[in-house]
């Protein structure tokens, strides 16, 4: 029970403390102390009426105390100087209604002046409440590396003057895209299981985003996209082996997540969303139907192509084209793309080549895909396809 409250409250409490103290590191220490105290006291004294208020007030008072005691600390932020000057005890207590500054925090963490991997790590740490160790583990880097990455990012925010604010109107579209991209990146990195399920974490962040920005169609659409994909996770593997979409046991699909996803998609369409995430979510939704409306899917990919100019999107459109116009047309589209470093490009080409009976070229493509794939379920799947292709070649009489 307490664990859950803490997970939910961490981002909220930290965000307000950053606003109050003007520094992420200070706010983190303050939040940590407050949560530790709560873990000690609440089981015995019972939960306070306003747990968020209690945590924020406690954290703040602790931070101010600590700063006062550390006389040699150079106070860098104007906010902090002001805090210490004004008498703290009277102005803030548990009944104070604290503004929710999580939006400010998300935009700070996803500022373009920070490297992308720093944006991702910082978002998970501050809004997600994951520990440095958990984040390091999730991204398969040493603890030291992740720790340094986070520290450097926090120092950059402080030293370069990255504002703790929601961006002004004219910057908001780009900045929102950046924040959504970070969340989606986290979702795609999801390893599913282990100590941290990044996909589940991304969905939590996605839900916070729509709570904080209820009128942003793209935010609703991103949540829809993540939920619709995540709903199928139980069916994606059978005995540790990859199962293709068409072979998945639909009984294992999480209907509740699909419903929530579809509801978010409807919301984004009601908000007149026409952006890339809305389009992607609509495609994901269409894929759930049996039989698939390939025409509509191809149209939406065309639209997405126009919006993003991404060759990966064109690659996916080619798959739809294969269903509508046959593998030859699809191959012509694929051959015009420059995606040599992308393993799915080669595996897609291989499948199309197989449909055209061009087994030897298919095998070359599988081999190229394998060069780009880490050991695991995906690799084993490609090896099976490769073996399958070799077997077909042996059985086919040479003309």
């Amino acid at each position: 029970m307490l664990e859950e409250i803490f997970r939910d409250q961490w981002g909220r409490v930290l965000a307000t403390l950053v606003g109050v103290l003007g520094d992420i590191e200070l706010a983190e220490d303050a939040a940590q102390e407050a949560f530790a105290l709560a873990a000690e006291r609440w089981p015995h004294e019972g939960q306070p009426a306003n747990p968020t208020g209690w945590l924020i007030t406690t954290g703040r008072n602790r931070a101010v105390d600590r700063i006062r005691r550390r006389r040699t600390l150079t106070i860098k932020t104007e906010q902090l100087k002001r805090e210490l000057r004004d008498s703290p005890e009277e102005t803030m207590d548990e009944t104070t209604v604290f503004p929710d500054e999580r939006l400010e925090l998300i935009f700070t963490c996803c500022h373009p002046a920070l490297a992308l991997d720093a944006q991702v790590a910082l978002t998970l740490r501050t809004l997600g409440g994951l520990s440095t160790e958990e984040i390091a583990h999730a991204f398969l880097v040493p603890f030291e590396t992740m720790s340094k990455r986070l520290t450097r990012a926090k120092h950059k925010i402080r030293d370069a003057g990255i504002p703790f604010a929601v961006p002004p109107e004219h910057l908001l579209p780009d900045r929102l895209d950046a924040a959504l991209a970070v969340v989606y990146l986290i979702f795609n990195e999801g390893w599913g299981g282990g100590r941290v399920d990044l996909s589940a974490e991304a969905i939590r962040l996605g839900r916070s985003l729509i709570e904080l920005m209820p009128d942003e169609a793209e935010a609703h659409a991103l949540l829809a996209l993540m939920l619709i994909n995540n709903a199928r996770s139980a069916a994606r593997f059978r005995d540790g082996e990859l199962v293709l979409f068409d072979d998945q046991d639909r009984g294992l699909w999480d209907q509740r997540q699909i419903e929530e996803g579809r509801s978010s998609l409807r919301r984004s369409l009601a908000l007149h969303g026409r952006g890339p995430y809305v389009t992607q979510a609509a495609i994901a939704d269409l894929h759930l139907e049996q039989p698939r409306d390939w025409e509509e899917i191809e149209l939406l990919y065309r639209r997405l192509e126009g919006l993003t100019g991404s060759p990966v999107v064109t690659m996916n459109r080619a798959i739809a084209v294969a269903e509508l116009e046959g593998p030859q047309m699809a191959l012509e589209i694929l051959d015009r793309l420059e995606l040599d470093e992308y393993r799915y490009y080669h595996s897609t080409r291989a499948e199309i080549l197989r449909r055209l009976g061009r087994e030897e070229e298919a095998r070359n493509a599988y081999e190229r895909a394998l060069e780009l794939t880490w050991p695991g379920a995906e690799q084993r799947f490609l090896e099976r396809r490769l073996a399958d292709s070799s077997a077909s070649a042996r059985d086919t009489p040479t003309p």
Binding site: A113, A160, G161, I162, P163
Partner: protein, 114 residues
């Protein structure tokens, strides 16, 4: 907050640069109240680099980093936060006169008239 904008010139047309006047778009930006000062430097060919090599002072011809793009000048600005500084740098960059602009927060400064 104070920031220093370090302008790196494009690789080509160094001859034009030496004789050329300042781009009018740039000149207009430099007139603004949030610009505290600026310096245009002579091209990289005119630089001499001073280093220490086994405790001996060494002079070499040319800039510290030998590259096609070199430091052409600096601009000292005042901005509320990084977004303000980046907006100004972006405006200058859009004039397509520099290869890139590095935006660095100032730690401390002392600038006399010279």
């Amino acid at each position: 907050m104070r920031y220093l904008l370090l302008n790196y010139t494009k690789a080509e047309s160094t001859e034009e640069r030496r004789s050329g006047e300042m781009h009018p778009g740039v000149a207009a930006v430099l007139e603004r109240p949030d610009v505290g000062g600026w310096i245009r430097l002579q091209p990289a060919g005119s630089a001499t680099t001073v280093r220490l090599d086994s405790r001996k002072v060494l002079f070499t011809d040319g800039p510290f980093v030998d590259s096609k793009e070199f430091l052409a000048g600096v601009i000292l600005i005042e901005a509320e936060n990084l977004d303000g500084a980046l907006a100004l740098a972006a405006e200058l960059q859009e004039l397509d006169v520099t290869a890139a602009i590095e935006v660095r927060p100032v730690l401390e400064q002392e600038l006399g008239g010279a």
